[in-house]
Amino acid sequence: MIRRFFIFAIAGLLSARAAEEVPSPSGASPLAWNAIDHSPRSLALELARGNGSEGYQVHDGFWSGTLAKGDPMLLEVYLFAGNDYRFSAANLDAYSQVSLSIFDSWGYPAGQEFTGNSSCATAGISVYRSGRYFIRLIMREGDNADICMIYSYK
């Protein structure tokens, strides 16, 4: 199952590369593509787009910022019961290691993390209780790297 997810993610990356020549109608949107753009945001978007074959849609919004090693970023999100969510984070430092975790309203770990000891990370959750959740991003290796996080849902 997990291997299939990453195969789809990689297939998504490849198909996304092929689609790069199609310009976006608007450059202002967070969902906008840019063929020349090689940024944490475009990488995170590629990762999220890889979930498309499983029916996931990308939420048009993203978090981006600079993370220092061991200094986590915690973001509040609101998720609905019945929906599945996947969070994707990426940065450009190939030697870095990013970890992405989901916590429920009470602060307990929730969902599943897909880790690859790499500069990209994904976590997913099937939500049984609507409410506030928390997404934690940690730079395990590397330092002061710009990173971007996007989520998709179905």
Partner: protein
């Protein structure tokens, strides 16, 4: 290549202090109407076609009311997408463009509006959700660029009000339709109320903004008092409150 592996969820637990200091970013932390309607659809498979509201052209020069209406129409667009009603989707996009022009941000969504029309003709519902989502963000970013942040707050509130308007009214007509837990969103209610409370006095003087503020106060209080579900009387209060705000925002000037 490193083969990714499935890891168990993190073993540590967040502290209350960490949770209260978590970042809140409107474009990520607030769910889109699409996410809400998706969850609603899974729980009760509503007859979306019957829930589509015919677009109401707004005759007003009141920027606050236009912003509120923009949010409501955006939610209406998502409802039309769920109903797979291409013409209503196009009508919503047309009216949104009309209102956006009145707020001087129409030019920024012309291309988006055209692609919505194309996708609606082609019946590409999934792409339409993303385009509507992106159009909402384009308007938001454009309003922020022209220093109209109060209007961003009102558009955001309008969208949320319309989502709850639809869902709470659905539940009042059939209380077994879905779990009222979907309506209990105390954190979102208090965030939006906080934003509305912080609007400049000039904005808060508008009757429709005052009505919104009062309605959000009511909503926030009843949601905060609820653990995970709303009793039928609270669902009724929510439905009445949200419908009244939706109607007030859609009312032409001549009737005021």
């Amino acid at each position: 290549m490193v083969i990714p592996s499935l890891a168990p969820a993190s073993e540590d637990q967040l502290t209350p202090a960490q949770m209260s200091n978590a970042s809140f970013l409107e474009t990520v932390s607030l769910p889109t109407p699409s996410e809400f309607f998706l969850a609603l659809g899974k729980q009760c498979q509503p007859n979306w076609s019957k829930l589509v509201r015919q677009s109401v052209p707004v005759v007003t020069a009141d920027r606050e009311r236009i912003a509120l209406q923009l949010g409501i129409l955006t939610a209406d667009g998502f409802i039309a997408i769920e109903a797979q009603d291409g013409q209503s989707v196009k009508n919503s996009a047309r009216d949104i463009l009309l209102l956006a022009k009145k707020l001087n941000v129409g030019q920024q969504i012309v291309a988006r509006s055209q692609s919505i029309s194309d996708f609606a003709d082609a019946g590409k519902w999934s792409r339409l959700r993303e385009e509507f989502d992106a159009m909402q963000n384009d308007i938001r970013l454009s309003l922020l660029e022209q220093k109209d942040s109060p209007l961003v707050v009102l558009a955001m509130a309008g969208s949320w009000v319309r989502q709850l308007d639809l869902a709470s009214n659905l539940l009042t007509t059939d209380d077994s339709a879905f779990s009222s837990g979907l309506l209990v969103q105390p954190e979102i209610a208090s965030r939006i109320l906080q934003r509305v409370d912080n609007l400049p006095d000039a904005s808060k003087k508008h009757p429709v903004v005052r009505q919104l503020q009062e309605g959000l106060n009511t909503t926030s209080t009843l949601m905060a008092a609820s653990s995970s579900h709303l009793p039928p009387s609270d669902v009724q209060t929510l439905a009445t409150t949200m419908s009244a705000i939706t109607a007030a925002a859609s009312e032409p000037d001549s009737k005021k």
